[in-house]
Amino acid sequence: MSSAPTELDESDEAVRVRMVVNGRKVACDVAPRVTLVDCLRGQLELTGTHVGCEMGACGACLVQLDGRAVHACLMFAVQADGARIDTIEGLSESGVIADLQAEFHRRNALQCGFCTPGMLINAHELLSQVSRPSREAIRDALSGNFCRCTGYEAIVDAIAAVAEARAAAAQGRGDSSR
């Protein structure tokens, strides 16, 4: 199939972006208009971060930017130059969310799993800020994460259970830092 030659658009030329992704220094060449989520998935082959609505409504693309949860569809990869990005792959490998993952599994807090990476990243941030959030606070924190399978109840259950377990473990260690 032949196609007409396209006019060269200089602003679409790739620029070098350097990031620390999941603890590893990476460099990739992307056009400025490429979103962070497309860069992570397409160039770095980290497909655990999902592309849902591409407008910040569904929460499927959450990653950590310098330690805070952000929508990877709402920033361009070039903006992340020099930043630290942690995706669901990195958080999984490090083990920091192993208890959340196990509890989601145990309570059937996922069916298709499309929303799960975003749910976990948001839940992880919530529990790092509030040690024992109320169910209402959990629902509030998840208000920007859409799940079309579960009806949320099991997700809230799982997060509440992990919060309880972590608080009990902290108490057992005599840790009153939170």
Binding site: D9, E10, S11, D12, V15, A31, P32, R33, T35, E54, M55, G56, G59, L62, L65, R68, A69, V70, H71, C73, L74, M75, F76, V78, Q79, D81, N122, E125, L126, R139, D140, A141, S143, G144, N145
Partner: protein, 286 residues
Amino acid sequence: MKARAFSYFRAGTIDEALAAHADAGDDARFIAGGQSLVPALALRLQAPRILIDINHIDELRSVRREGEWLRLGALTRHCEMLTEPLVAEFAPLLRAAAPFVAHPAIRNRGTLGGSVALADPASEFPAMVLALDAEIEIAGPSGRRCVKASDFFIDLFETALAPGELLVAIRVPLFRSNQRIAFDELARRRGDYALVGCGMIATLDRDRIADISIALFSVGNVPTRARSVEAVLVGSSLDAGRIAAAQAALSADLAPADSDDVPAAMRVHLARVLLGRLLGRLGEVR
């Protein structure tokens, strides 16, 4: 759902950002948190030739007291409104509004300056800036200027910002011990844009209202002061009769249009309900 091609410039200073904008013949957009701009680019509602990233300009970042004002740099993130002690102490109305702004991950990135510059009539912060009689600091090609919030919001997504001008900071008068605030909104789901929202700050003289400022959002093309309601309340105590009179006066301040899902009459009704609740709360904390 992909943005049109643009080139990208990361500005290190305000002057660099302004120069880049001028160089592009103003076919440029400043990007701060990007939580509204990036969707607009993805939907191609906007397609600038160059995106000027202001996230790394340190001058836009600080929250500090300046005399009788709290000065909030344009890059103050929504999440900082919830954690910054100076905001809790000196601008509690902004603190009260912050949990209602979108969702946690949006709040981690979205900025006060971006929200006010966009002037979405359904957004919390533009209306609260109006309620607080804040001043908006602007840098532009011809220097710095300051605009009162009451002169800033002109029409739908239209502000006093001229092309090439950059919102630098918001200054709000320091909260005083004889003042009270109240904020709430009605939305179908948490984090959605409000059907109607309202925030107010009152100055008390014993049990009477010496002064009160009330602003509503999601009620028209711009955030709206309820001046008729304020006039009814000044000099009064917040008894049930006066609250009812205030609610009755609200229709003089609002003229919302019918929308697909919310008839104008319903929006005015909801605004009245919300106003009554908030005035009741102001009365309780006295």
